[in-house]
């Protein structure tokens, strides 16, 4: 079992650019959530995808968007990058919704915006 995988590991972009991060959930999981962790902070929930739909969203602007594919993998897109978007982006997967199934986190993608 490969667990949750994310790509790329590191990414450097400049202000105003757009970025796409990718996540493959743990085998058997169909729900993917994305979190942003700024340096020295706890992770903050961005949004969650289930059945290819966004189900829940945290306090993030529309510049942050996502997608889930039929194979349950997911993408996080950020447009018009700002310096403040520099962070570790974590993907987490779980089985189903409306339950307390544990989430498993991926290794993260470190995004640096210059």
């Amino acid at each position: 079992d490969a667990g949750v995988t994310q790509s790329p590991t590191h990414l450097i972009k400049t202000r105003g650019q757009q970025v796409t991060l990718r996540c493959s959930p743990k085998s058997g999981h169909d729900t993917v959530s994305w979190y942003q962790q700024a340096l020295g902070q706890g992770p903050q929930f961005i949004f969650q995808y289930y059945e290819e739909e966004e189900r829940q969203r945290g306090n993030f602007p529309d510049r942050f968007s996502g997608h889930q594919f039929p194979n349950y993998s997911s993408e996080l897109n950020v447009n018009a990058l700002l310096l403040g978007d520099s962070a570790l982006y974590l993907c987490a997967s779980r089985a189903g919704v409306f339950n307390y199934n544990e989430q498993f986190f991926g290794p993260g993608t470190r995004l640096t915006v210059l």
């Binding site: 959530s33 020295g40 902070q41 903050q44 929930f45 969650q48 307390y100 991926g106 290794p107």
Partner: protein, 111 residues
């Protein structure tokens, strides 16, 4: 809005000593998680606490949950250098389908 607070934020302790990290939260949830994070790394799950009075132990770490007080503790016994890391608690608020994390406690064990 659910709030999760940890204290202390920073903790330096000598090897061999005992200490406790506290996690207070503002909801009635009975599901709480503890994670460890090493610098630049992802989150490693330590404990899942599923009900009031739950207590779990793994090595030198022990976690407990008091849902009535909305308080969880992570107790460190006879600390060793390998425990140096940042520790987060997170609350799973049923119906919100997301984890809300505490601010984290950066633990440094001094030889």
């Amino acid at each position: 809005e659910l709030k999760v607070e940890q204290n202390p934020l920073f903790l330096s302790m000598q090897e061999g000593k005992n200490y406790t990290i506290y996690c207070n939260y503002s909801t009635t949830s009975d599901r709480l998680y503890w994670y460890r994070q090493d610098p630049g790394k992802s989150l490693e799950s330590l404990f899942v606490l599923l009900s009031n009075g739950a207590v779990k132990q793994e090595g030198r770490l022990m976690a407990s949950l008091d849902t009535k007080a909305r308080l969880s503790t992570l107790h460190i016994t006879a600390a060793v250098h390998d425990l140096s890391a940042t520790y987060f608690c997170a609350v799973d608020d049923f119906g919100n389908e997301k984890l809300t994390f505490g601010t984290g406690t950066r633990l440094t064990i001094i030889p």
